[in-house]
Symmetry: C2
Subunit: 357 residues, 2 copies
């Protein structure tokens, strides 16, 4: 066996055990969500439908990276996994209710391989089901009171409040750019938007919430904010890349729907920066069309230019750089918990940027 083959094998089996561990946590969190938190049925036929709608996205296959960040950070800082599960479950619920609304805001057709909730049912019902799930999330968080006490419960609520505020501001920024057809944007605009839209709820708050459950202090929370901001940006850049070149079936969304939706990705902004004038004008014309007027040929053209000008590679290089910076921050945290969890955290950080779906 060559040195290279040995390394590949080791890293593959390492990856398998990481994914097993992510799946294990996800299964515990799903159990909390589906068997302890969300109501399963109502004698009132109409309300029963609402409950089914609330359980719909949580029952679809997701990766479960966000609750894993929460649980693993908690353990790495010396906290109990069992004490973090309710909070991790509420992070998943946040992701689910905001996706219901995002899918309407972005006119998305598919989510995790199935029709989006507003396509499957009705738009008004879906907006309301998202609100219902949102409100339930806050109610469930109050159940931390008994196991964690009032002080930590309130700190967790504060963190959720910050998380939702940042996410809705980021989502607003992205939507406004599309609504106003704004293209005078550079890399730092994109990173500013993504640090709000993605970083907070994907990495920053999941980690900080795990830390709060573990009883960590301000110093750790600050470092996790820096770690989460950078890793979240890298995560989103990779997500944008997968949207263009990933395996659509695994990815569970329409391929290239970012282009259909007019999203300002780093890849697209880079393309606009380096493309020739004629190309640039053609791309802007395509991007300015409404969703259903964009043709398959339009999409192919934009992607081919992205490849020709190395825009995808450029963005992935930026993601790798951000990942490196994030990992460096992680190295400065004073971990009080199991070494194994610290290692898992490093590996899942790496995976979330290097994943293929």
């Amino acid at each position: 066996m060559t040195q290279h083959a040995r390394f590949t094998n080791r890293s593959k089996s390492g990856m398998a055990s990481l994914l097993d561990e992510v799946a294990r946590v996800k299964s515990r969190v799903d159990d909390v969500i589906l068997n302890q938190l969300l109501p399963s049925s109502s004698p009132l036929k109409e309300v029963d439908l609402l409950y089914r709608m609330m359980r719909d996205y949580p029952q679809r296959k997701g990766k479960g990276l966000r609750p894993f960040f929460c649980v693993t950070t908690c353990r790495a800082l010396g906290g109990e996994e069992s004490e973090s599960l309710l909070t991790a479950a509420c992070i998943e619920l946040f992701q689910n209710w905001i996706l219901i609304h995002d899918d309407i805001e972005d006119s998305s057709e598919l989510r995790r391989g199935e029709p989006t909730l507003h396509r499957k049912y009705d738009e008004g019902l879906a907006i309301n089901a998202g609100d219902a799930l949102h409100a339930r999330m806050w109610g469930f968080l109050l159940r931390n009171r008994k196991p964690l006490g009032e002080e930590r419960t309130l700190r967790i609520l504060e963190e959720f409040s910050r998380m939702v505020n940042e996410t809705t501001e980021g989502q607003h920024m992205e939507l406004v750019w599309v609504v106003e057809n704004k293209w005078k944007l550079n890399e730092s605009d994109y990173l500013e938007m993504v640090s709000r839209k993605t970083s907070w709820y994907t990495v920053t708050s999941p980690c900080r919430l795990g830390a709060i459950v573990a009883g960590a202090g301000e110093e750790e929370l600050k470092k996790l904010l820096e770690f989460g901001t950078k890793l979240g940006m890298a995560f989103q850049i990779q997500d944008d890349a997968l949207n263009l070149v990933g395996d659509a079936e695994k990815y569970g969304k329409e391929s290239s729907d970012d282009i259909l939706e007019g999203k300002r990705t780093l890849i697209l902004l880079r393309l606009l920066e380096v493309a020739e004038r004629g190309e640039r004008e053609k791309v802007l014309k395509i991007m300015g069309k409404s969703r259903n007027r964009k043709t398959a040929e339009d999409i192919r053209y934009v992607i081919s230019l992205m490849k020709k000008h190395g825009a995808i590679k450029y963005a992935q290089g930026k993601a790798a750089q951000l990942l490196g910076e994030a990992l460096a921050v992680l190295g400065t945290v004073e971990w009080k918990g199991e070494k194994e969890s610290v290692e898992l955290l490093t590996r899942v950080a790496r995976y979330s940027v290097e994943r293929q779906w």
Copy 2:
């Protein structure tokens, strides 16, 4: 001066002083919302627009009955008005974010005399602004911690959680009836729906939240639940009636938009029950049309039948009965606060059913 004239004068000046008092409380609550809670500007142009959208509905003229129920119940139970203002402000914020979403769900055009938020800006932006305001509401409620302590803060959060759950379930019921074009409904279905959609956030929780701030016990909270449920139903019935025959300019919505939106009001259900067969079929045919296919003649026809069969009078009779029952419950509460506040509570209850806008 006749006996009657004296009574009318007294009651008019009584009404004036009630409305002055409602306006005084509303102005204090608005001050909290606009000057202490909602952010007013952001250096980021895009985020600044979000903040303006969040402040839009709160800046429009509303009656302010809900915060008044909260503040007045608090005083009537011996609590401090100043301690209830933050919570009352959050009740108003709840009303505002859910109206943003309701207006989209119901395809409403006007709100408080101006275009609805999604018409004024963009639907996706409005859904997100509603979410942003919703999340802010929970964050602001945490500020009760310092003045009221952890215990009461958490009880207030529990009550908000219940309030939003009930409201979204009621809203869902009403939407499903429209989406599924369901007409096999009777008075008790309507009251069941309204007790969730309207009672909780209009009367029940505002009163109970005031009570919690005042430190009231379970016994009072139970009575206020009964009071609020009944008064809320009566309030909604009167609201439905005003939608048909009220002063559209004062009311601030399109006249008869309940008929346009296909709402199942008690008035309509009563009409369907007592109308002749041919009339009934014609009404169902009109109500089954989509919003923009209903003509002005359709609307006039339905309203004329409602008048002919006394359906509006019937519903208002039901409202008067519910008001009477609600006031009877109020009489059994052991009030520990100022007598004047107890009297104001009775009068605002009466006003909320007898109001003309």
